[in-house]
């Protein structure tokens, strides 16, 4: 077992706003329960997505698993260590990538940051060079290693972040929204890269994301957390089973259209000044698009899966009802 969590909870102390001067002299606090007694385990080589809406508790869970924050209660083991002890042996065997934060020095080149990490992780020179050559070739960034980080694009920087976090060959790689803000090409490359290294090195992956394509292409198992509680743990197919026949069409019109005209083609789920999003049956997608193109002044159509937030909200409602 690589990760084993039993009854993990985390509470945060939050200051209440009571106004001046009470805020300064007698501040009052309340506790917010971010994660409420969740339990799960992950086996070696598994690739698991931790999903949930904003504020669900997934990033808190990941931060506890990497030893960044202290759990309020629960029994937590990662690679047989209590993460918060931050034992050197444990830290050498994990890697962390955070989509919104950079571990690379902005004013230096990626190579200079990699060199520093080589010393910190005690990677032998030969192994470092070999690994770096392999990774930069797979991610096609060999020519960018000596360019200042601030001059790289977001996608290029994220590839460098990935290299930085796995140069030392971690056994578990934690990824917090690794594809956030990236364009479709960069997302595809990073997904393929993650899948490849997971298959070839047997690294265990745990990622949080809001992007359903990340989940489908990188992970085999999905854990859904909502309002701090775990309420789904299974395969992606199982999660989407109920929604596999649904698609969302976002229709952008060249002129104003009344809702009545759009309603004929599907259930309206979102309405904006010059666009509507409708829910349709996946099997009828070609004929519905054809009919819309012929009858309405359409400028553009965007086809998407049912958003994760809605699936979770729907699941949550059906459970509580």
């Amino acid at each position: 077992m690589i990760i084993d969590i039993k009854n993990f909870s985390k509470k945060y102390k939050v200051k209440l706003k009571s106004g001046f001067p009470k805020d300064i002299f007698y501040p009052s606090f309340t506790e917010i329960l971010a994660v409420d007694k969740i339990s799960f385990s992950v086996e070696k080589g598994e690739s698991v997505a931790l999903l949930g809406p904003n504020g669900a508790g997934k990033t808190t869970t990941m931060k506890v698993l990497t030893g960044l924050i202290y759990p309020t209660e629960g029994d937590i083991k990662v690679l047989d260590h209590f993460p918060f002890d931050r034992n050197k042996d444990f830290l050498k065997r994990i890697g962390l990538v955070m989509g919104n934060k950079t571990s690379l020095e902005w004013d230096l080149t990626p190579m200079q940051s990699f060199q520093l990490n080589k010393h910190i992780y005690k990677i032998p020179e030969k192994a470092f060079k070999k690994r770096l050559d392999e990774l930069s070739e797979i991610l096609s960034v060999g020519k960018l290693l000596d360019i200042q980080v601030r001059k790289l694009s977001l996608g290029e920087r994220m590839k460098m972040e990935l290299i930085n976090s796995i140069l030392h060959n971690p056994q578990v790689l934690f990824l917090d929204e690794p594809s956030i803000g990236l364009d479709i090409i960069a997302k595809q490359k990073i997904r393929k890269f993650l899948r490849d290294i997971q298959k070839t090195t047997d690294v265990t992956l745990l990622l949080t994301t809001h992007d359903m394509d990340d989940v489908g292409k990188v992970t085999d198992r999905v854990i859904v957390i909502n309002e701090g509680r775990l309420f789904f743990d299974g395969s992606m197919d199982k999660l989407l089973y109920k929604y596999r026949n649904k698609k969302y069409l976002t229709l952008i019109f060249s002129e104003k259209i009344v809702a009545k005209e759009v309603k004929k083609y599907g259930k309206i789920v979102e309405k904006r000044p010059s666009s509507y999003t409708i829910e349709i049956e996946a099997g009828k997608q070609p004929e519905i698009i054809n009919a819309i193109m012929q009858n309405l002044p359409i400028e553009d159509i965007d086809i998407t899966h049912v958003p994760l937030e809605e699936i979770i909200a729907d699941m949550f409602n059906s459970k509580t009802n």
């Binding site: 990033t59 990497t66 994990i94 962390l96 955070m98 934060k101 950079t102």
Partner: protein, 274 residues
């Protein structure tokens, strides 16, 4: 800890310090033109201090029992300890920023003592040499060295006390930065403690203080050690053994306090959300 473990640990830390120094040098030289502007600022500050001392001693021979050359030596020790602190001081203000924006996350996952890495992740060797050499040279040339009769014991004791004083002052500033883990900000607290260090420790010699203040500023607020006490010991005005033992005691106490406070702070760390 076993001796072999201690040696291994020390070796690791020296390797990191070397790597970090190179890394910081690369950062400091990334913007070549900007880096030189600071030299002018430090040089003119020292020049104004020398002029002030010259003016001060026009009508008097002694200030707080110090002759003009002794006062210039005090200035030299004060400036030297300030520049040595500067090697790593920026790491304390960076810690506050990193706690606020959550970038501390990516430091805490490194397999190295977090407290050590926080304090030494940037070592501004090049910047400090560049900024300190011209003004220090100015003071050295201004001092009439022939008037001093240092004993080797006093000189070595004074230097050791100055180094311990630097560790003590930096540790005090680090402890002052830790409220950021609970209240979300502490830059003004650190700024206050830095001003206090300058005003208490770098302007008035030890002998200028009454006994009560000497005790206060050598213990609870230990800013007299790096410059006031060390210069006094070098000049033979204070007992070197007593001051060495006293400074060592304060250093051991404050380093232990720092470790306790750091462990408490990490437990309170909530990590800014991504």
């Amino acid at each position: 800890m076993k001796l072999s473990e201690f040696k291994e640990n020390l070796k690791d830390k020296l390797i990191i310090i070397k790597a970090v120094s190179v890394y910081t040098f690369q950062q400091e030289t990334a913007y070549w033109v900007n880096t030189w502007a600071h030299v002018l600022s430090t040089f003119f500050y020292t020049l104004s201090m020398i002029l002030f001392i010259d003016v001060l001693y026009t009508n008097v021979n002694l200030v707080a029992g110090y002759s003009i050359n002794e006062m210039l030596l005090f200035l030299l020790v004060g400036q030297s300890t300030y520049y040595i602190s500067w090697l790593v001081y920026s790491n304390i203000s960076n810690l506050i920023t990193d706690v606020n924006n959550g970038n501390l996350d990516l430091i805490l996952v490194k397999p190295i003592s977090s407290l050590f890495y926080i304090l030494f992740r940037k070592i501004n060797v090049f910047g400090v040499l560049r900024d300190s050499l011209p003004p220090l040279l100015l003071i050295i040339l201004k001092i009439d060295w022939g008037v001093f009769s240092f004993t080797p014991a006093n000189l070595i004791s004074g230097i050791i006390i100055a180094l311990m004083g630097i560790v003590i002052s930096l540790t005090f500033h680090l402890i002052m930065s830790l409220p950021v883990f609970w209240i979300g900000e502490s830059s003004n607290i650190v700024e206050f403690s830095s001003h206090l260090e300058y005003n208490v420790g770098k302007i008035i010699p030890l002998e200028g203080y009454q006994q009560n203040y000497r005790f206060l500023f050598s213990s609870a607020i230990p800013f007299l050690i790096s410059t006031g006490i060390s210069t006094s010991v070098m000049l033979g005005k204070s007992n070197s053994i007593i001051m060495l033992v006293g400074s060592l005691t304060v250093m051991i106490l404050i380093l232990n306090m720092r470790k306790l406070a750091w462990n408490k702070a990490l437990k309170a760390y909530t990590s800014a959300s991504s």
